[in-house]
Subunit: 193 residues, 2 copies
DNA sequence: TATGTTGTGAACCGACCGTTTCAGAACCAC
DNA sequence: GTGGTTCTGAAACGGTCGGTTCACAACATA
């Protein structure tokens, strides 16, 4: 069988995810990834093949461990009317907690979309699917909150939620107040009957 | 007085702006800037002091030559009711023209916000002010379109326009259809009386 | 034409980039 | 134990990074 790895793969990927999140793909240096993961580069390259391989694993972990758990109440068989509000106000609060990754660096995938690595086809598909996943979840959240409203109105509201979240992620690094304002605005639309 | 520069400063800055727009600050290499501007690095450093100095000039040019001319109808003393619709549908069309910088790379300032350079204080202020400028312009555009509507409703609509534009910029690189959908959604809200 | 100033090209700087190599350590099966 | 396989640390790879240096070209002035 051979020598036993001295690390836990999940922990390594999570640590790398944090580095990519803050610094971006091109800005995350191999020494920084070594330091964060505690692994020597030879082990990183042995396990993941390349910096890009580690990045892909980090993106998968971001989707599985960060995005989808928070979206779960919005994609469950039964969606509670408050689910969409809970999600958005939870995000609003997270963007205010200084020091946390989300507050300082927004969203790994939105950041990726704005960088040259976003031109890569595989990355492009991943981020586009992520946006669609967000939109679908918000669509169900809005439907659960305003079941009586007409379909077009609900769709526009779900679109507004999607745009608010994406723009909040995109701007939080430079303008946390503006990011929170975007979320507050759609929260107000969701509060009115 | 000394030797006459062999270049036109404006042309140099505009060429550099394009490189930063596509590649981002950290991704724009000095050789790439030399090639785009036609200047040797010694001339670049003589004129702008550093890569960052050239970037700052490029950002200023982006605001003066790209952003503000398009926003002008929305900040004029008299704002036409169609101004906001004209702006958004113009942006929608621009995001669809393949090959153009806007379609492939979104917005220089949004991209900057999502990158590590966004942590710089001066950059932070610049992008935050840009967002505020956008929001103010859209506010006037919405006011001109729906003068009879209540203030809160107009504010939420202006917020939705701001978020739609920012998110369209943030996503156009990976998801042009999603970006256009965000704009279409607010355009629909602006079409209804 | 002589002088002082400014712009330009080429060569070079140390630092860092992502990646590879390789010897040896740690484990399994026999 | 022995052999085969896998993981790990250190060192080194060529290439590129942003930035500097310097000799010289090109101009304004006197």
């Amino acid at each position: 069988m051979g020598r036993t790895p001295a690390y836990e793969a999940d922990r390594v990927v999570r640590a790398a995810r944090e580095v990519f999140w803050r610094a971006g793909y091109e800005g995350a240096s191999v020494p920084a990834l070594e330091h964060a993961t505690g692994l020597n580069r030879s082990s990183i390259y042995h396990a993941f093949g390349s910096k890009r391989g580690l990045f892909d694993a980090a993106v998968q972990s971001y989707l599985d461990d960060v995005v989808r758990p928070r979206l779960r109440p919005l994609v469950a068989p039964d969606v509670v009317p408050d689910a969409i509000v809970t999600y958005l106000s939870g995000l609003r609060a997270a963007l205010g907690r200084e020091g946390e990754v989300q507050a300082t660096s927004g969203c790994l995938l939105v950041n990726t979309s704005c960088a040259p690595i976003g031109d890569d086809d595989a990355v492009r598909r991943t981020v586009a699917d992520y946006r669609a996943e967000l939109r679908a979840a918000f669509g169900r959240g809005v439907d659960a909150r305003f079941p009586g409203r007409d379909a077009a109105g609900r769709a526009h509201l779900a679109d507004a939620c999607t745009s608010a979240v994406v723009s909040a992620f995109a701007l939080v690094r430079v303008d946390p107040d503006g990011a929170r304002a975007a979320l507050d605005s759609v929260l107000a639309l969701l509060a009115t009957a």
